[in-house]
């Protein structure tokens, strides 16, 4: 994808505005986008969806040491109420249908994060006859998080990046949604 050999394409990744972790902007501006994005990024309810070892790390991230609740991110157990689907773990072909179903059940706007190598590209089970090589083959993925498993702080950083993603969006365009795969 890059024409220069200089690692990742610098333009492919917009520079991140440094608000994710600081106390969020208090000034409610007149622009409705700002308000909407502000509310969205500060209330990321993620779905409890853990299929393998990464799930343990996902639970740990909600725990005391890396408290995701600080950013308003709490788990919901129903896909209808969650904003973010964190695919934490190996997805087998049998599970793939369920992942799609869960994604289809989520209400717009919805985001998907592929957590760990298995969700990114199949990971160490890539060669297996039964493992989906990357969850982006079945649902659209917004954020990829490498690691096997990623440590809780890495997941926290990925959540902050989801916040950055939300910040750059327009409410009206996102409202339409992306449809189901």
């Amino acid at each position: 994808m890059t024409d220069t050999p200089a690692g990742r394409d610098p333009t492919a990744q917009a520079p991140l505005c440094p608000t994710g972790g600081d106390s969020a902007p208090l000034v409610v501006t007149t622009r409705i986008d700002d308000l909407v994005n502000w509310s969205r990024e500060n209330s990321i309810w993620y779905l409890l969806f853990a299929t393998a070892c990464c799930g343990i790390e996902l639970m740990q991230t909600g725990g005391p040491r890396t408290d995701l609740d600080r950013f308003g991110a709490v788990f919901r157990s129903s896909p209808r109420q969650s904003d973010l689907l964190i695919v934490a773990g190996t997805i087998t072909y049998k599970m793939a249908d369920r992942v799609r179903l869960i994604y289809a059940q989520m209400a717009e706007p919805r985001y998907v994060m592929a957590m760990g190598s298995c969700a990114n590209c199949g990971g160490l089970f890539q060669q297996s006859y039964s493992v989906v090589p990357g969850v982006d083959a079945i649902v659209p993925v917004d954020i990829y998080l490498p690691g096997c498993p990623p440590r809780p702080e890495a997941l926290n950083e990925a959540i902050l990046r989801v916040q950055d993603l939300m910040k750059s969006e327009h409410w009206a365009s996102r409202r339409q949604g992306r449809g189901n795969p």
């Binding site: 969020a24 500060n42 209330s43 609740d69 308003g72 904003d83």
Partner: protein, 423 residues
């Protein structure tokens, strides 16, 4: 005369220069004033439910050795606003196979059930929307309307988990109505009236005038009522209808966006309502120590308003304290099993609350109010209450001290980090 008529008459006299008794439009003005009062109560629920959810998350965080929301606004106080706006703008999904009218109406029914209870809550000396003479009955009836909404949500969602949740909540609410009604019956026996203001008026401002410290049976009845109320409000440890580990999210599993927000809202309002009922039925309500209600009613102008505000504040403080207790219970006790839930109700709470009614009746007959035996009984009960508070404070201190030593050895820091220090 309650405050609504008071305000309406004042308006009619000052704005329309008419005599409220004979003026033909009095009812209209009164209706408008009632509407405004209802709106204020609604705003109160909204404003109360938001910050309390933030406070609960902070308290839950500290109990679990973490922090809780602290990034949105100063120390996260705007967290509820972010959650609210987000939910409001989220897609409102209706499952294709759902029973559409039931599914759509259920949250509003639940909300109406919760909200209707506010009508008879005695907020202050004259601040009550409607002082019904069957106030307690009305409370019991209107809060059970919730079960219809939950069943509708469970049935209408066309999801087995939602159905389980709805059925569980129906079973639970219907069962726990019994002990809570019996416990409130003790209050009614002592007060001699079903009206909520009458119950408050039968108590006094000082703790020994409160119903909870009237006699040992009332003391027990308070805890029985509190337990039953927690169960009626579907709060942990009795939150079987939304047990994640068993039925995913229970009756609200298919709800998203605004409708889900209504369920959340109703849950928060319900905590407040049950704390308020406990506060006015057992803990003296808005009574100001040293001032009789008649003296308040006799005042005029700003003095009247001042006393009203003070009584309102006292009531709010008591109710908010009980809300904290509910929150702490939630983060202390694990969830019960379904059979344990039913056993707790039918084998323990129901007989015990019947016993309390009997006990209160016997004491009413044997111990005349205001006599020497009554004074001794009240003094002993206040002493018991103080002892409970003192013993629990000492236990907290002991638990803390043991771990403080270990913590200093391991971390080289002091464990002490009081709740008012916000990280």
């Amino acid at each position: 005369m309650n405050i609504i008529q008071h305000v309406a008459n004042l308006l009619i006299r000052s704005v329309f220069h008419a005599d409220p008794a004979s003026w033909p439009w009095t009812w209209l003005v009164q209706a408008v004033v009632i509407g405004i009062a209802a709106f204020l109560a609604f705003a109160f629920v909204a404003i109360f439910a938001g910050p309390v959810s933030w406070i609960e998350r902070r308290i839950a965080g500290r109990i679990q050795s973490r922090i809780g929301p602290n990034r949105v606004g100063p120390q996260g106080v705007l967290q509820w606003l972010a959650d609210g706006v987000k939910c409001w703008l989220k897609e409102d999904l209706v499952p294709a196979a759902a029973d559409r009218p039931l599914f759509l109406a259920a949250p509003y029914l639940v909300f109406t059930g919760m909200f209707g209870a506010f009508v008879v809550l005695p907020f202050g000396a004259q601040v009550v929307a409607a002082d019904l003479n069957v106030g307690i009955l009305y409370l019991l009836a209107i809060t059970s309307l919730v079960v219809v909404g939950l069943l509708m949500a469970g049935w209408g969602s066309n999801s087995k988990w939602a159905l389980f949740g709805g059925v569980r909540s129906a079973a639970q609410l219907v069962s726990y109505e019994v002990p809570s009604a019996f416990s409130l019956l003790c209050v009614v026996l002592l007060a001699g009236t079903l009206s909520t203001q009458g119950i408050v008026a039968a108590q006094g401002g000082w703790p020994w005038d409160w119903f909870i410290f009237r006699n040992p049976f009332m003391f027990a009845a308070f805890f029985l009522y509190f337990t039953a109320a927690i169960a009626e409000g579907n709060r942990t440890p009795f939150d079987l209808p939304e047990a994640e580990s068993e039925i995913v999210a229970g009756y609200n599993i298919e709800y998203s966006g605004m409708r889900f927000l209504f369920f959340l809202f109703a849950e928060w309002a319900n905590i407040w309502i049950m704390a308020a009922i406990s506060a006015f039925a057992f803990l003296g309500g808005w009574q100001i120590p040293g001032i009789a209600p008649e003296q308040i009613a006799a005042t005029k102008g700003w003095e009247f308003v001042g006393w009203q505000a003070l009584s309102w504040t006292i009531f709010l403080v008591k109710a908010t304290f009980l809300v904290f207790v509910v929150i702490q219970i939630r983060w202390t006790l694990p969830r019960l099993r379904v059979d344990q839930l039913m056993i707790t109700c039918w084998k323990y709470l129901v007989p015990l609350s019947m016993l309390m009614v009997l006990g209160v009746l016997v004491l009413l007959a044997l111990v005349p109010e205001g006599g020497g035996a009554d004074t001794i009984l009240r003094g002993a009960m206040v002493g018991l209450g103080l002892a409970v508070v003192l013993v629990s404070a000492l236990r907290v201190r002991r638990t803390f001290r043991v771990d403080r030593e270990h913590y200093r050895e391991m971390e080289g820091r002091d464990l002490w980090y009081p709740p008012y220090r916000l990280p």
